[in-house]
Each structure stands twice: as C-alpha cells, then as structure tokens.
C-alpha cells in the first residue's frame, strides 16, 4: 500500500486538475452534482463508486467528451471549455470501451493516432516502437486488432494513450474484464507511469486496484463525492481496523448482533453473514464463545477499502 500523502508536500507539487462546483446535467437527470476535487501533479487519483455514480461522466468532462453544464474545470492549468484542443493535446485517454481502429493493424493504430497530435513521422515511429515494447506487444506489431485478446487490446489502448507523451493519463476502468495476469501487468505499467512523473486519474470497481495504485481517491455516489482521502485515511475514518465475519443460521445471527453490538463500532448484515467492525476482535471472540450461540464459521481479518466502499455505498444492488 502507498504511503500516506502529506498535504503540504502535495500542494508544493502543484495541481494537475481542479474542479470547483463541477456540474453535469442531462435533460432528465443530474449526473454530476457540483463536485469539488483537486488532483496533484504526479499522483495517482482514483474515482470509486457504484455504476451510475457519475465517475465516467466526470472522466468525460476531463477529456472533452462531455461539456460541463456548471462550475469550473481546469486541466493542466487550462480551462476545459475555452481551451479544449490545448487540453486534449496534453492528456491521454484510455476509454472504458475498446475503440481501437479495427481497420488498422496494431502498430498502425499508434502511427495514425500520432498524426492526430501532429507528431513528426520519425518521432511517432520511435515512440510507437518504444510503447509496443512497454506494453509487451512488439511481436504483435503487424497483427490485426481483431485478433488480439482482451488484455492485449487494453494494453494497446494504454500504449495509444501515451503516444503524445501526455502529462495526464485518464483511465476509465482500465482492467475491467481482464484476467489476473493481464490485470497485474497493467498495474505494473501504470506504476511505472507514476514513477515517471505522470499524473494518473482512474475509475475502478476493484478495491484492490485502488489500494494498489491510488495515492488518493474519492468515493462517488449519486453524482456527489461522499468521501475522499488516501486508502489508509479512508479505512481509519470509516471503518475499524479489524473485521470479524460471522456466518451462522439466520436466527443465530440476530442473537449474535445483540451480543456484539456494544463492543463494536458497527455491525452489518450481509446475507448469511454478520460483519462486525471492532477495535478489539479478541474480546469479541471470547464473548461469543462464552455465549454458546452456534457459529458456523468465523473469519478474522484486517479492514480494507472494500469495507469502506460497502459501508459508504450500502449493500443493495445498484442497477
């Protein structure tokens, strides 16, 4: 897990993206409701939240595919509404859905994309080769895009987003649908990018991904930011450091709840299990043993971002 970022240190680095009262309304609903956030230069900043929380809309406003209906948004020091082209020149985008150019081969995708940024031909060629190396697709340079696996397509999308050597890279669910090997390869590459000093902004559904990559993150729900901080700060603030997961018959679960309530910070029912957030799991376990209430299974673990997320956004199924 990343070290907690000191405020003073971060602001000294300067900001990459600043949103103030940022708003996006469509005819029938408000997708993003007046959000404020700051992304510091060189950090990895995450957007967490259930589907429909407004993450993708926020990303789209950053890369110009959606126009804000209110508030301010500056990207790389430029007003997104007034200097759209200049902003787009400085960022790289990995969209949620694959939109590689299937009429072009793997390397051609990078070369043609380089032209959109007016890069000199030689420079584009050199960068394309470097980037294919970087995402481990060199031997697929002349392959048709449609013959690539899902993980390879995602890596090519990442290479494409880097062709203009952007200072900010926006990634909308960069590893959704990838197998664990492919996911770890993508994480490794993304870490290399932050170590090169690039600013990364990503949305994800995977708490592990956020914990692995993000220096700071915000949790969105229903178009608003409901929490923000570093992963450790969020865990500290919203859940206790230890969790006891108790599995038992439904009537036993209710008895257990009554039993542990006063010794825990929070108790949550999740299906057949009871999640007990507590500063002192030992004392709790002792009490449960002594009570004689039958427990099928007890799991004791450290609290993680997933607990924060579930705590904040609830356990109901969204869309």
């Amino acid at each position: 897990m990343k070290q907690r970022t000191e405020e003073s240190q971060s602001s000294a680095r300067g900001t990459s993206i600043v949103a103030r009262g940022l708003n996006k309304s469509y005819e029938s609903f408000e997708a993003v409701k007046s959000v404020d956030f700051e992304v510091y230069r060189g950090e990895c900043f995450g957007f967490l939240g259930p589907n429909g929380a407004g993450k993708t809309t926020t990303m789209k406003m950053i890369y110009g595919a959606a126009v804000p209906t209110g508030g301010e948004l500056t990207v790389a020091g430029l007003d997104i509404r007034r200097e759209e082209r200049a902003v787009k020149r400085r960022i790289g985008v990995v969209p949620q859905e694959n939109n590689l150019d299937e009429d072009l081969k793997v390397k051609e995708n990078l070369l043609v994309y380089g032209r959109y940024y007016d890069l000199p031909k030689k420079e584009t060629m050199r960068r394309a080769e470097e980037l294919l190396e970087f995402v481990e697709l060199t031997d697929k340079a002349d392959a048709e895009v449609e013959h690539l696996s899902g993980g390879m397509k995602r890596r090519l999308l990442i290479a494409r987003a880097l062709i203009n050597d952007p200072e900010i890279v926006v990634l909308d669910e960069p590893t959704t649908g990838l197998d664990p090997q492919a996911r770890h390869l993508v994480w490794e590459r993304l870490r290399e990018l932050t170590s090169e000093g690039k600013t990364l902004i990503l949305t994800t559904h995977y708490m592990e991904e956020a914990a692995q990559l993000c220096d700071r993150l915000v949790v969105m729900e229903g178009g608003v930011i409901i929490a923000q901080g570093s992963p450790d700060e969020l865990i500290e603030e919203y859940v206790s450091p230890e969790v006891l997961e108790l599995r038992a018959k439904p009537d036993a679960l209710e008895k257990l709840r009554a039993l542990v309530e006063d010794l825990s910070d929070a108790v949550e029912r999740a299906g057949e299990a009871l999640l007990v957030y507590t500063p002192d799991a030992g004392a709790l376990q002792e009490r449960i043993r002594n009570s004689g209430v039958p427990v099928d299974n007890t799991l004791y673990r450290r609290a993680g971002l997933e607990d924060v997320f579930m705590r904040l956004t609830g356990r109901r199924l969204i869309d």
Partner: protein
C-alpha cells in the same frame, strides 16, 4: 456551446489521411466494381435501349454518347452516398472510431469535414477511372464518348459532386439511430435523383413543373456540368457549378452540428 465551430484544416487533413491510409490497402478491389457498374448501364441502356432510339439519338448524339457523362455524375453520387451513410454509420456507432479521434486535438467538426472531403476524393478517384475507360472505349469503338479537352475539369467537378452528396448523406446519418433507415434515404432520395436528373432522357422536355422541380435538385446540376465538360461547355455550366457550391455551403455546417450533439454529450 452553441457557437459555430469551423473545422480546422489541420484536423481535417489528419482524419482524411487516416482514411487514405486504409484505402491504400484495398483500393484495387474497391475500384473494380465501381468501374464495372457504370459499364453495365452503358451496355444495357446505351447499346440495348439505344438500339431502339431513332437515328440521330438525343440532340445529335448517339444514346451512348448522351448517357455516358451523366453516369459519371451519378457514379460520384453513389460513391459519396455509400461513404457518408453506411461507412460513416459503422465508424460512428459500431467501430466507435470517432469517439477515439475526438479525445485527441482533432474535434468533431474536423472529423465531419474530413469525411466530406474523403467522400469527394473517392468520388473523384472512381470517376477518373471511369472517365479513362470512357475515353479508351470511345477510341476503340470509334465513337468518341469524351469529346472535349474541357473534360480534364471533370475530376475536380466530381470532387465537388462527391462533397455535395456527402453533406446530404452525412446529414441523414447524423439524424438516424438505426442502420436500416438508409433504405428510406436511398429509395426516396438517391434513386429518384438517379432516374429524374436528365441522365437517361432530357428532363427539360417534360411539361411544367417537372423541369422546374429538377432545377432545384442537386444531381440535375451535376449531370449538366459533366455533360457540358465532356462535350464542350457553354457558359451555362457556371450556373450549375455555382448552384452546387451554394447548396453545399448552405448545408455544410448542419451535419457538423448534429454530429457534435451525438459525439459530445
């Protein structure tokens, strides 16, 4: 937001280059049917139907000579129409090529203008191929199908015709959300224009208001311009070219506006 956004030449060129890069891979196979189809019309109508048309043909020309330049114009219309309908729709909705492009410094207005220009380029390329075939056939059969040196101006005219029909095709594309709706565009717009724009018979000989209606349609002027350039133009050709320029300019920004609404939320 509502401001008029004119395309940038730079962005337009970049997207045009993308299309050219892809076209270079398959131009031979793409070109062939486009040369072959007008030849079928020439053979079936020019020679077949032409045999029944009285000696003297139309206005002193044989029937083949009469229809050949008109087919150049309709060929450009078809090339640009397919490009700006099915091809553009697939790139927009299925391949999502435009979504990717507009995250770069290339904007929606550049993409649309590039597609206009590309459709015009294709129309001009195909038309030039067809024009060369006509010239050769004329020599081989000793019945000149291209009789004036002004014909060298036909390719740039086909470029204009292609851009013009790309603007109308893209306008339709920017408004529909199902690919099968193109049947309406082709049945209600393209085919009637093909049949009633003076390619196969002089529309001006019809009673009023048919010629007057024809005057307000784009292919009529395209056919006139090609025919005049193939046979030696009268000053009237300038009216046809001017008509097409005004029509194209008047509609130019409309598809850009609608496409922007579709691609940028």
């Amino acid at each position: 937001m509502g401001a008029v956004r004119l395309p940038s030449p730079r962005g337009t060129l970049r997207v045009w280059q993308r299309n050219a890069t892809i076209f270079r891979k398959y131009w031979k196979t793409a070109l062939l049917p486009n040369l072959f189809e007008p030849l079928l019309y020439l053979a079936a109508l020019g020679l077949g139907l032409g045999a029944f048309i009285q000696a003297g043909g139309v206005g002193g020309q044989s029937y083949v000579q009469y229809i050949a330049p008109g087919l150049l114009a309709s060929n450009a219309m078809f090339a640009a129409s397919f490009e700006s309908t099915f091809n553009t729709y697939v790139k927009m909705k299925i391949q999502r090529v435009y979504d990717a492009i507009v995250t770069t410094p290339v904007n929606v207005e550049d993409v649309v203008a590039a597609e206009y220009l590309w459709a015009g380029t294709r129309a001009a390329l195909y038309g030039t191929g067809f024009l060369s075939v006509l010239a050769v056939l004329g020599i081989v059969f000793d019945e000149p199908l291209v009789r004036s040196f002004w014909a060298v101006l036909i390719p740039p005219t086909l470029l204009l015709i292609g851009v013009m029909f790309s603007v109308t095709g893209t306008l339709f594309t920017s408004l529909i959300d199902r690919i099968d709706l193109y049947a309406y565009y082709f049945t209600l717009v393209v085919t009637p224009l093909f049949l009633f724009s003076g390619i196969f018979f002089p529309i001006t000989d019809f009673p009023a208001p048919v010629p007057q209606i024809a005057w307000f349609t784009p292919l009529y002027h395209a056919v006139n311009a090609c025919r005049e350039l193939a046979t030696g133009p009268s000053p009237g050709v300038l009216v046809d070219v001017a008509w097409m320029l005004v029509f194209t300019a008047a509609l130019f920004m409309l598809p850009i506006h609608f496409m922007r609404k579709r691609l940028i939320s």
